[in-house]
Amino acid sequence: MNTMMGLINLEHEHHFFHELTYFRNGASVPFAGRYRLIDFTLSNMVNSNIEEVAVFTRNKYRSLMDHLGTGQNWELDRRNGGLFVLPPDWNDPSDISKGDLQFFHNNRDYFYRGKASYVLISGSQFIANMDYKEAFKYHLERKADVTLISTMIDNEQPEHERCLRIEADDLGWVKNITNNKSNPLLFTGVYIINKDLLMTLVDQCIAHHQDYFFIQGIKENLSGLKVQTYEYKGYSAFINSIESYYRHNMNLLSEKNYKALFYKQPFVRTKVGSYPPATYRSCANVKKSLLANGCVIDGKVEGSILFRGVTIKEGATIKDSIIMQRCTIEPGVYLENVILDKDVHIKANQRFIGSKDKPYVVAKRKEM
């Protein structure tokens, strides 16, 4: 049957989020008031009728595991299919595989056993609210071996530097995958591949002692494969650094961007909490901000994003900042261009000011 399974491959994602990734991987960095980066691709998969999702993760995954749980928030706690977090096996002496190939190799049975005949592979750092069914339909129509999902960018930003560019002919057949900065057609890191082909290529790569499936199995093997590109045209963001993380959070404070990312049903899903609605007290003064439930606001909040359970006491001012879950800001504090990780406590009458390019980041659970 023509069905897809999902694979979220975090193996080759770099953790360029400094303080934010000290104790978690990039996929579980909190985003937009109540989400984690991984929620977007995971929700897209579920909302595109994918019923089985595997995750490759090698390190700093405690927070990720806690977030994903049994997959229940994505309705992936199923009798058949569902969510599988697949760690690599470090202790097999006969295993010569490396990089993400090690995951494929160690979980070979899992891939053979699944009913789906296609695999949609994605990272976590491309943020969009996208229907993968369209791309899948395209993949089947074009009878491609591989379909790379791409997106056109208007202006080059620092986060695009690490993205691969796609050169294709008029019929969408991919001729080259490069690092050419003048090409605005970016590879989103999301692609669809036929499962049998995937496993064959995996074996080839392992036999050649390779360590990066996409680069060596597909990019350097283009001539031997029928590779198509499907262009995604909606709102999107690449997030792979503190600066891009901050900027794309702030972009959501525009009504247009917020609607484009969130108001397409079905919604992006995440782990739910049991926080009450946000409480605004008499001194609350909130403008141009996103607030999650459980916040208690008695100060000034402007151009900021507040995660669940944040307390802003009377006379505190938060400007252009990102305040994560359960932070407490005491009276008289002034914050501007600041990112506070979870559970930070800022004591009374202090000022912290960062810049837009280099926001001031405070690591988890600090008392300042």
């Binding site: 937009a32 008031g33 109540r34 009504e255 917020y258 969130f262 108001y263 079905p266 919604f267 992006v268 899903r269 995440t270 739910v272 909490g273 049991s274 009450p276 609605p277 946000a278 409480t279 605004y280 007290r281 008499s282 609350a284 003064n285 909130v286 403008k287 141009k288 901000s289 996103l290 607030l291 999650a292 439930n293 459980g294 208690v296 994003i305 507040l306």
Partner: protein, 385 residues
């Protein structure tokens, strides 16, 4: 064997809530920006370790059944016990609707006996309060009572609106006065009963034979037990409790949540309040938005001004609008330059631009839905600016 089984009465229509209960049972009415009224009692059970709970439904149960589901938000999705919806049924011996609170329990004796409990807690799903039932159970055991009824002191001038329990100094009940003209005590029954199951069962079996009985706890069972000189005790509850029986009291209870010093708090860490959570994104407060003294749930868009109000999920307030002392249920949209004061707007109602509806302080807050919106706009209470 279970020590205590909870029986939650949730079949009430709540006639005095008017439009609010037109399509849902009273326990399923939206409350507090995110919850439904029944969440308070369901969460109380969770917080008190009562993991076997029967919920008796009757009137318009669809929303209620859907809301409770498997009981997951309250950790009541269990193999052994958990939450069971008990609807009226037919059997070989016939069948009937639940004709009273006691009859509802009587018809489910087999459910209770399955769990073979020592005690049965009878509560109703239409009161707002946060309580640990263990304290009630402890007192019940200590006084070796047949039933312990939770009571709350009410202002003397209001006592004649309640079922008043007259007790001796050691809280033994010797008299039950339903809405007394001249109250002797100000201890009102909260409709929370901890029964010793053996005793209750006997009284239920007896009561059902009585053709003239209304099969009600307050009117029949308790008076019968008093007449037999059974051990009835009162348990004094300290805290917030409100029967949201009327539109006025429903509105007041919501407004009480906005009071910083009030005893009713949604952020109580020991008595957490649980409910179904929605997938709506965080709320969006625009450049032009002003929010003060309010509760706002996720998925809301505020471009106008909101003061002293409760907004449920996915409410949109357009620019130039002013919302004051109002409760807006999920999916309500308020067009530009509208003024709403002291109103309750029902789910998914769209208030057009330039609407003006203001209810005076001495009047009962107005419940608005799509049906009566047009009428209201052409009456004296409201209009087009």
């Amino acid at each position: 064997m279970k020590e205590c089984v909870g029986m939650l009465l949730a079949g009430g229509e709540g006639k005095r809530l008017g439009k609010l209960t037109k399509e849902v049972a009273k326990p399923a009415v939206h409350f507090g920006g995110k919850y439904r009224i029944i969440d308070f009692t369901l969460s109380n059970c969770t917080n008190s370790g009562i993991h076997t709970l029967g919920v008796m439904t009757q009137y318009s149960p669809l929303e209620l059944n859907k809301h409770i589901g498997s009981g997951k938000p309250w950790d009541l999705h269990r193999q052994d016990g958990g939450v069971t919806i008990l609807s009226p049924y037919t059997a070989q011996s016939g069948g009937s609707w639940y004709s009273g609170t006691a009859d509802a329990i009587y018809q489910n004796i087999h459910f209770i006996d399955q769990h073979d409990p020592e005690y049965v807690l009878v509560i109703s799903g239409d009161h707002i309060y946060q309580m640990d039932y263990n304290a009630l159970l402890e007192e019940h055991k200590q006084s070796k009572a047949d039933v312990t009824i939770s009571v709350i002191p009410v202002p003397w001038e209001e006592a004649s609106r309640f079922g008043i329990l007259n007790t001796t100094d050691d809280l033994r009940i010797y008299e039950f006065d339903e809405k007394p003209k001249k109250p002797k005590s100000n201890l009102a029954s909260m409709g929370i009963y901890m029964f010793t199951w053996k005793t209750l069962k006997a009284y239920l079996l007896e009561d059902t034979k009585n053709k003239y009985s209304s099969h009600d706890f307050g009117k029949d069972i308790i008076p019968a037990m008093l007449a037999d000189d059974r051990r009835l005790y009162a348990y004094r509850f300290k805290g917030y409790w409100k029967d949201v029986g009327t539109v006025q009291s429903y509105w007041e209870a919501n407004m009480d949540l906005l009071d910083e010093d009030w005893r009713l708090s949604l952020t109580n860490k020991t008595l957490m309040l649980y409910s179904n959570d929605s997938d709506f994104p965080p709320q969006f407060i625009a450049e032009t938005g002003i929010v003060k003294h309010s509760l706002i749930n996720s998925g809301c868009w505020v471009f106008g001004t909101v003061e002293h109000s409760v907004l449920f999920q996915h409410v949109v307030i357009e620019e130039g609008s002013y919302i004051h002392q109002s409760i807006l249920h999920p999916g309500v949209k308020v067009g530009r330059n509208s003024i709403l004061e002291r109103v309750i707007v029902m789910e998914n109602t769209e208030i057009p631009e330039d609407t003006f509806i203001r209810i005076g302080f001495d009047e009962e807050p107005l419940v608005i839905d799509e049906e009566n919106l047009y009428e209201i706009l052409h009456e004296k209470t409201g209009g087009v600016i």
